[in-house]
């Protein structure tokens, strides 16, 4: 039982979410309703898309902290194009192209030039935010057209069109990562970069692609932001990079690369988003938000980490126990006692 949960982060997170939902529901009647779930799903859309992009980067054992600025920059391009009366599909393409280019620069810096990812994306975090402020002159972009806002207004059973787009992207990402060769390549690069290179995987190409994908997903996040909020402050998306990385880690994506699933990420994103809604229902002042989110994140991680250490220990103990019993009577091993302690055949 413990083993199952320690191996399966998605399941344990689901149980934690279910238990906390039930507890909150017991204390705050009205919380457990379709409307609440809908609100949480809609509020989590931006974080969902952006963290999907960051997930790819994390899988290759890199990191991208520039996504918040990329989100803001592509949203600003969208807003400026719309203000210049460009048609909506064309403006959206412009925003996506901006995200793509931003991701490309990150990818070139990391995969081609070889700058450590955290340093490179920290630099572009400042760079893209600055570009955004230069482009807009520091003025908020307002009066976005109704056609854009309509994308985020309730349509089917209270769900906006955009949520179906997000759901499709999530589904495609899941299928790509777990069911295609190229998807497994991404894991291979993060698990062991040198080994991946030696068996002939285009490592740099893969690293470049995940950064471009992260840029693209941030741009999608930017479009959703513009549609949902209806105006664009200069600080659009700032700070989301940390929340997104927190969601990825909570969802079981290792910062050491090579492990993590889309399903885990989805649960983690909506778990973090639901904290906000739950606090409102529990009538806890909003300023407790960061404290609770931080404590939750650390608690889950520490429990998870301790469990993993325990499991490792018990696995190792079993292995040695096996060893000791099979070794008895084997004269060869008896003659060289060093073998048993050095591990033997594992």
């Amino acid at each position: 039982m413990i083993r199952f949960f320690s191996k399966n982060r998605t399941a344990s997170l689901l149980v934690i979410s279910a238990v906390s939902f039930a507890l909150i529901g017991a204390f705050a009647p009205g919380f457990l309703s379709f409307a609440t779930v809908r609100t949480i799903l809609i509020n989590g859309m931006i974080m969902m898309t952006v963290s999907l992009g960051v997930m790819g980067v994390l899988l290759t054992r890199n990191i991208d902290v520039s996504v918040g600025s990329t989100l803001g920059l592509s949203a600003a391009v969208l807003g400026l194009l719309l203000q210049a009366e460009v048609a909506l599909p064309l403006a959206m393409a412009g925003a996506l192209a901006t995200g793509l280019l931003a991701g490309l620069l990150n990818g070139v810096l990391v995969a081609v030039i070889g700058v450590p990812a955290i340093i490179a994306t920290l630099g572009t975090l400042g760079l893209y935010r600055g570009l955004l402020l230069i482009l807009t002159g520091g003025v908020w972009i307002e009066n976005l057209p109704q056609s854009l806002k309509a994308l985020a207004s309730p349509r089917f059973a209270g769900f906006p069109i955009l949520i179906f787009v997000v759901a499709a992207i999530v589904l495609l990402a899941h299928l790509f990562l777990s069911h295609t060769r190229k998807g497994r390549f991404v894991y291979a690069v993060g698990d062991n970069r040198d080994a991946a290179r030696h068996i002939g995987l285009p490592v740099r190409h893969i690293e470049l692609s995940v950064f471009v994908f992260a840029g693209l997903m941030s741009a999608v996040g930017g479009i959703i932001f513009a549609a949902q909020i209806g105006f664009l402050p200069g600080q659009a998306g700032s700070g989301i990079e940390l929340r997104v990385i927190a969601a990825c880690v909570l969802g079981g994506i290792s910062l050491l690369g090579g492990s993590g699933t889309v399903a885990g990420l989805v649960v983690a994103v909506f778990f973090l988003t639901s904290i906000d809604s739950a606090l409102i229902y529990l009538r806890i002042p909003g300023y407790w938000n960061d404290l609770i989110a931080g404590a939750m994140l650390l608690l889950v991680l520490v429990v998870d980490g301790r469990l993993r250490l325990l499991i490792d220990k018990s696995v190792r103990a079993k292995r040695y126990a096996n060893h000791a019993s099979t070794d008895k009577g084997q004269s060869l091993i008896k003659a060289t006692p060093g073998l048993t302690t050095s591990g033997g055949n594992q």
Partner: protein, 333 residues
């Protein structure tokens, strides 16, 4: 090249040249920038970056990383503010704030070292935890987010405007801190262990070094200095706010990276980080005085970091290549 001149090839020398060039360029644009008084006093606006960047260098050299210091700055300022609010006298409150900073560092170290989770993840969590704690603490005495806790005695708010050896107090504190940490890193057993722990964890372990204790102290030092930064900022602005440190997060990491420390551990110097802090700080100040809006300075300091680091990376690649080709090796001699 003669050995006596080899220091010119060091990264730090390049940074010093870059700093001189930067000051001269801004001086050419706006001669007021070159006045000794404006060069001295504009440091008060960015000294806090250096105060946290220097101990952060130690953490990074030892192979760790900490992003939670940005919240510790605000949290310790709030601890100080709340203590004064409840009638404690100022020196005791300052001591409490520094103690709180040390405890934050200890908390990070304890979680990192017992759970063996990557330091970036743990400190990301505590970044929220500490800033949340600060907001809850300041909310508990009814202080608004943007006004913060004010009404401190005159002598406390004077601290940031005092002088020491002809230097403004914040800058003097930064320089004393740099000398202190530089000496610790260069001349003590602890300092040398910090390098070895970051360079090769296994080698340090097999040599019987107290790995965990060395790492723990780097985090505690960072917490303590983050608290000092919080106190200086509180004194400078006259009020304790939860968000005092948010701006230092990226600038301080930038300063450490630009200063030549490696995020993989084992490399970096206090002097490099100090010069890089001045480089980043004067860039912001200089741009402001040249009439460039402060918005663009963020873009430029990001670009500066990228150009410097990728330049170093490319230059490193070239020198590695030249070692592979014997002819090139001879040519360079």
């Amino acid at each position: 090249m003669r050995p006596s001149l080899r220091f010119l090839l060091r990264w730090e020398s390049f940074l010093v040249l870059l700093l001189i060039a930067e000051i001269l360029i801004f001086g050419a644009i706006n001669p007021r920038f070159l006045r000794p008084s404006s060069l001295l006093y504009s440091t008060s606006d960015f000294v806090q970056i250096g105060i946290v960047a220097l101990p952060l260098t130690l953490v990074i050299i030892a192979g760790g990383i900490d992003v939670s210091f940005a919240s510790v700055v605000g949290l310790c300022a709030i601890v100080f503010g709340v203590s004064v609010h409840f009638g404690l006298n100022v020196p005791v409150a300052m001591l409490l704030a520094v103690l709180a900073g040390g405890l934050c560092g200890l908390f990070n170290a304890a979680v990192i070292l017992t759970s063996r989770i990557q330091p970036l993840v743990v400190t990301l969590g505590s970044l929220y935890l500490f800033s949340g704690l600060a907001v809850v603490l300041s909310g508990s005495i009814g202080a608004g987010g943007y006004e913060g806790i004010g009404g401190f005695p005159q002598f406390f708010t004077d601290i940031a405007n005092m002088h020491l050896l002809g230097l403004p107090m914040p800058l003097a504190i930064l320089l004393i801190e740099a000398i202190l940490l530089g000496c610790i890193l260069q001349f003590t057993r602890f300092g040398r262990m910090v390098y070895l722990v970051g360079l090769s964890e296994k080698a340090a372990l097999f040599n019987g070094m107290p790995l965990d204790r060395v790492r723990m102290w780097t985090y505690v030092l960072l917490g303590v200095f983050a608290a000092i930064a919080g106190l200086i900022l509180t004194s400078y602005f006259g009020s304790a706010r939860t968000d005092l440190g948010t701006q230092t997060l990226l600038s301080a990491v930038t300063a450490v990276a630009l200063g030549g420390a490696s995020v993989y551990g084992g490399k970096g110097t206090i002097f490099g980080t100090l010069i890089a802090t001045l480089l980043v700080g004067y860039l912001q100040q200089g741009l402001q005085m040249s009439g460039v809006s402060s918005q663009i300075s963020g873009a430029l300091s990001g670009a500066l970091l990228l150009i410097a680091v990728s330049g170093r990376q490319l230059a490193g690649g070239v020198s590695v290549l030249s070692f592979l080709r014997p002819t090139a090796l001879h040519a360079s001699k």
